[in-house]
């Protein structure tokens, strides 16, 4: 085996995602002169911010060998509750804090069923998906909540140091998630449980509590994303967030986190969200009809996983 080949393989395994993103950017900038402009780049970042926030929470769950299908519905529920409280006269800060608290609480609800009742995460959060959606619809009687105080406009449309607030929120949440996963005992426990739950248990790690945390964190992520979306739309829709869970899972797996748990990270998830966002954006610029966009998006996800599989199969 020649040295050059090993280097290539390592390089591909480590930076393959970034290279794929760069390749996409180069291709798209060749095809459209509107692509590589400052305003379009900021546009792409803002567009992916909601998905990237949800996906960061999803990354934590998936590394712990779980899955959270309820995030789209939870986004709708926390949005309408937070918005209603604000419209009802509570200070915006308090309403937002309540919405985030609700997201956390519903995440704990999911996590408790998974960790303490031992029900498969897929099933628990599938139930959550319909329960939270139903709660959002029942709470609003199916109608959107509008007439929000200006604080929500600031979240959706404000900017700071030349960057829109949603991008700052996304970056902040990604950094916090990265720090938790990489530098805290809790984060290391998530990797251990995802990699081998039995070994983690025999090492004295409180497996149930850690699993509960991952779902709570994902719930919080959905609520944060919900506040950004509510600010962007300047209203809260009980029907918001349909299929968001799939976009988030796509960003996580395209970003190289294994659905079997134990490996991956939030940096990859950001790149995954960017790849998906850039493809969407590029196809819009090129006027590709939306039906075809879906086909292309699915194809990209499959291709990314196929490449990942080929590269990792060779390494082991």
């Amino acid at each position: 085996m020649s040295l050059a080949r090993i280097n290539w393989r390592e390089l591909l395994a480590r930076f393959g995602l970034v290279l794929a993103l760069l390749a996409l950017v180069i291709i798209l900038s060749a095809m459209s002169d509107r692509f590589l402009t400052q305003s379009n780049i900021i546009n792409v970042l803002r567009q992916i911010s909601i998905n990237a926030i949800i996906a960061a929470g999803m990354t934590v769950v998936i590394i712990g060998r779980g899955i959270d299908l309820s995030v789209g519905s939870l986004l709708a529920l926390t949005g309408v509750v937070g918005a209603s409280l604000a419209v009802g006269g509570l200070p915006a800060g308090v309403a937002i804090a309540a919405a985030l608290g609700l997201g956390l609480a519903m995440g704990v609800f999911n996590g408790a069923f998974v960790a303490y009742a031992g029900i498969a995460p897929f099933i628990v959060t599938l139930a959550g998906l319909t329960i939270f959606r139903g709660m959002a619809l029942a709470f609003t009687d199916g109608r959107p909540v509008s007439g929000l105080p200006p604080a929500f406009m600031t979240i959706g449309y404000g900017s700071f140091l030349g960057l829109p607030v949603p991008i700052w929120i996304m970056l902040g949440f990604l950094v916090v998630t990265h720090v938790i996963l990489r530098y805290t005992a809790l984060g290391r426990a998530v990797y251990a449980i995802g990699g081998n739950e039995e070994a983690a248990r025999l090492s004295g790690i409180p497996v149930r509590r850690v699993v509960l945390f991952t779902f709570a964190y994902s719930g919080l992520a959905a609520a944060i994303a919900s506040m950004v979306l509510t600010g962007r739309l300047n209203s809260a829709q009980p029907s918001a967030g349909v299929m968001f869970e799939l976009d988030a899972i796509a960003a996580v797996v395209v970003g190289g986190t294994s659905l079997f748990g134990g490996k991956g990270g939030v940096f990859g998830t950001l790149i995954g969200a960017l790849i998906i966002g850039v493809i969407n954006n590029g196809m819009n610029l090129l006027n590709v009809p939306s039906f075809y966009q879906q086909i292309v998006k699915g194809g990209v996800i499959l291709t990314a996983l196929l490449i990942e599989r080929l590269v990792s199969a060779r390494r082991t």
Binding site: T184, A185, Y191, A192, A199, L202, I205
Partner: protein
């Protein structure tokens, strides 16, 4: 003319010779026991016969024809069927479906299937509804279903690999009845067992293997347990002695029990290694999981141990028997694995202290001379012996008073094994108390300050050094009952 004969069978796995020129014959309608210590090559020889793996050298004759099986299907087509230790039934399917698994017609006529199934089950004296899900059967019943399945395939040679390991004694009696009946119908049975009492009860002839070589074949009526044990043990060093050490300080007392294990009390002294001996199914294999709070109930100095966390807090830590599924997160680095049991101590305000983590891994890598000495290496890249060192180091990092070692050298090559023994010896000389559960008799003899022998769910003997190898084997295999 024997029904089956194997000549000069050899098999190597890498550098390890598992079998060396072994001859084996089987008469029609005999029960032929195959015995030997762990690693003697019994299972390998039978896997070759059953078509699971081909031999490197040697040839086989079955019913007068030269045969060479390159798959299990080929062996089964010639009537050679193996019933495995880890039972090969699909628990979610019915008994009838399992009986004909892989041989179901394209369209299933359930009526006919049930009728055929009932006939087969009657042959093994199992009177249950063929529609019963296998998951609902006891281990003993499942074994009988497997034998019925072998008969359904018109088996002429039935290989039973430690069939009584997981059976209660009434179930064992029933199995022996069936074996006798099957034998009367002309089927030959190869019976692999660690329990000599069973061998003398059921077998017509016995073949002994040692270190991959044939020691000899005897007619059971013309031999006795002492002779067989002598053949198993060989003329190697028979007496093992540890230098007598004064052990005064009592560390504590375990009281463990479980469904298949009567209450046992074990008092441990600082620096003492207590060996636990017994075949699988003797209750010996239950003691350490109990003591670590994984099953059954356990008390340590009168405090209940209900979970691994309780145990670790009480200063007890387990090196589990299966390092891949229980000991390690193989995808993570050496350092990450080493820190798993001590996350609490290595953090400050929730954040891992990178310096302390690195210092801990450096310390243990050097102390146990891990190779390569690289904390960032992924664990799956290490050899078996070095992986085991990681598991032991992770456990030791909790600074325990008691170390529970469950089959510490399983799947570890000879060189690394000696190194692990040095590590274990060193730990005891530093005052750690160790409980060592092992199916490797030599390992127990070489390391233990005393040995508790388990049979039928309780301690039947406590042995002190100097040990007599043959005596220990006699206790473990139940041959003492025969004398």
């Amino acid at each position: 003319m024997a029904l089956l004969s194997m000549h000069g069978v050899s098999k190597r796995f890498g550098a390890v010779t598992a079998l060396q020129g072994v001859d084996f014959t089987l008469e029609a309608g005999e029960v032929h026991a195959l015995v030997g210590e762990n690693g003697a090559g019994k299972s390998t020889l039978m896997k070759i016969l059953a078509g699971v793996q081909p031999p490197d050298e040697g040839h086989m004759q079955l019913g007068g024809d030269d045969v060479r099986f390159s798959s299990v299907q080929e062996a089964q087509a010639r009537g050679v069927v193996m019933v495995y230790q880890e039972l090969a039934l699909v628990p979610t399917l019915s008994v009838a479906e399992n009986l004909f698994l892989g041989r179901l017609p394209r369209f299933v006529d359930y009526g006919a299937l049930r009728t055929r199934a009932r006939t087969l089950l009657a042959q093994v004296d199992l009177h249950l509804d063929p529609d019963t899900e296998v998951a609902r059967l006891s281990i003993g019943e499942r074994q009988l279903v497997e034998i019925a399945r072998a008969l359904a395939r018109e088996g002429r040679v039935l290989i039973l690999d430690e069939p009584t390991a997981a059976l209660a004694s009434t179930e064992t009696d029933r199995l022996f009845e069936i074996i006798t009946r099957v034998k009367a119908s002309g089927v030959s049975v190869v019976y692999i067992s660690h329990r000599l009492e069973e061998v003398f009860r059921i077998a017509d002839r016995v073949t002994v293997l040692r270190d991959g070589a044939l020691v000899g074949t005897r007619t059971v009526a013309d031999t006795n347990a002492e002779q067989v044990i002598e053949m198993m043990v060989g003329s190697s060093v028979h007496r093992y002695e540890r230098p007598a050490r004064v052990r005064e300080r009592v560390v504590g007392t375990f009281e463990v029990t479980e469904r298949d294990l009567r209450p046992v009390r074990i008092t441990l002294h600082a620096g003492e290694i207590v060996g636990l001996a017994g075949v699988i199914g003797s209750g010996r294999e239950r003691v350490l999981p109990c003591a670590f709070g994984l099953r059954g109930s356990a008390r340590w100095n009168d405090a209940a141990i209900g979970s691994p966390r309780d145990a670790i807090k009480a200063g007890i830590v387990l090196v589990p028997s299966d390092r891949k599924t229980q000991g390690l997160v193989v995808g993570l680095s050496v350092e990450a694995n080493l820190s798993l049991a001590t996350l609490g101590r290595l953090q400050r305000f929730g954040f891992m202290r990178a310096g302390a983590v690195r210092a801990q891994s450096r310390h243990w890598i050097e102390r146990l001379s891990l190779r390569p000495p690289d904390p960032d290496k992924a664990v799956w890249e290490l050899s078996g012996g070095n992986q085991q060192k990681v598991v032991i180091a992770k456990a030791l990092a909790t600074e325990p008073e008691v170390l529970l070692l469950d089959e510490p050298t399983r799947g570890v090559d000879v060189g690394a094994r000696a190194e692990l023994y040095d590590v274990i010896d060193d730990l005891s000389s530093r005052g750690l108390a160790l409980l060592l559960s092992s199916s490797d008799t030599e390992e127990l003899l070489g390391l233990s300050d005393r040995i508790l022998v388990f049979r039928e769910g309780r301690v039947t003997a406590e042995l002190q050094p100097p040990y007599d190898y043959e005596e220990v084997v006699a206790h473990v295999t139940g041959a003492h009952q025969l004398a």
